[in-house]
């Protein structure tokens, strides 16, 4: 090999190295999707709390508490000696129905309930639009609920069609009625991890799986 081509080789190797560093440092846009009240905001808070020491979203038993997208930037996570940067994107989730009367149970005026319902519909539309802006998705499900009832097949199908990696989080394993197996059998082609966002249970396992799917 002559000197010139040797130099070029060296130069390319050098370039490749630099590029791979940039790639490693690239921030991964992690979207949290799933049905209303599954615990998306609780999980976003847990992750943010674990790595930044502060929460990011309001949590409530009232459905559709999150009615707009919330982003927490540059959340640096370590797992198994690896380090990755994420932008956490907490979404309102995707629903196909919203009934303002459901809000009336929570001591809300009719006017307030209607306003919330209207905002919730906008929130879902926004969540769908944001599907275009994520690199990786956590589909958060309530493991005490029947997974077949949850309208997430749609988003999962949508993501699969675009080769976006998906991790299914079976949340609320602290509750006795939790059934992670049932979630697993509903989505056999996906990785499912059971956690409790509220109690911080099995978060190590969660981070490990997360790193596995973004790899």
């Amino acid at each position: 090999m002559d000197k010139a081509s040797k130099n070029t080789m060296g130069f390319f190797d050098y370039l490749k190295n630099i590029l791979s560093i940039f790639q490693f440092k690239k921030t991964i846009r992690l979207g949290l999707y799933g049905p209303v009240n599954a615990g998306k905001s609780s999980l976003a808070n847990r992750i943010s709390l674990d790595w930044l020491g502060e929460e990011m979203s309001a949590v409530s038993k009232i459905p559709h508490e999150t009615r707009e997208i919330k982003v927490k930037e540059k959340v640096r996570i370590n797992s198994n000696g690896k380090e990755l940067d994420f932008n956490l994107i907490d979404t309102p989730g995707i629903a196909t129905k919203i009934d303002f009367e459901d809000f009336l149970k929570y001591k809300m005026s009719k006017k307030e309930a209607k306003r919330r319902a209207k905002e919730a519909t906008q929130g879902v539309i926004e969540a769908i639009k944001w599907l275009e802006n994520v690199d990786c998705v956590l589909v958060v499900l309530d493991s005490t609920e029947n997974p077949y009832d949850q309208v997430n097949v749609t988003i999962i199908g949508n993501l699969a069609a675009r080769d976006i990696p998906v991790l299914i989080v079976a949340n609320k394993v602290d509750l006795r009625r939790a059934n992670v197996k049932r979630v697993e059998s509903a989505f056999p082609q996906y990785k499912v991890i059971g956690v409790s966002a509220l109690k911080g249970k099995n978060m190590e396992g969660f981070y490990k799986e997360l790193f596995d799917i973004v790899r």
Binding site: I94, A95, T96, K97, I98, D99, F100, A117, T121, Q122, V124, I125, I128, L131, N146, P147, Y148, D149, V151, V153, T154, G157, N158, A160, A161, A186, F187
Partner: protein
């Protein structure tokens, strides 16, 4: 009374996604359960949800949707599916999508016998 509307593939095959979705939504807003031969693409399904959200009001509370043959082992859709399989003989049920107005599906969930009643009437 529950009302069903069957949409054969030939009726929507030539429509644009936008038109397909308007058609389906129009029927759902009319309080009918739609049996659609065929499936929406993921993009169409996302669009359907968007359009559903923009049409929600006091009377229309949204939809429930399920593709037959997917993750429907234990839910209301399975009940409909089973009854319909009998009813719609000659139609390949495994490539079907069922879309129901949310308020009606809620009623069915509360009282699944309604489906049986419906299929009896249809026979």
């Amino acid at each position: 009374m529950l009302r069903l509307q069957f949409i054969p593939y030939t009726e929507i095959a030539s429509l644009t996604s936008e038109n397909k979705i308007s058609k389906v939504l129009r029927i759902a807003k009319n309080n009918r359960i739609i049996l659609l031969e065929g499936k929406f693409s993921p993009e169409e399904e996302a669009l359907l949800i968007e359009r559903t959200m923009s049409s929600i009001n006091r009377r229309f509370k949204g939809i429930e949707i399920c593709s037959v043959g997917d993750y429907s082992k234990e839910d209301w859709v399975n009940k409909i599916k089973k009854s319909l399989a009998k009813m719609l003989l000659g139609v390949n049920a495994s490539g079907m999508t069922i879309i129901g107005p949310a308020s009606i599906v809620k009623e069915i969930k509360r009282d699944p016998d309604k489906i049986e009643l419906l299929t009896k009437n249809m026979r």
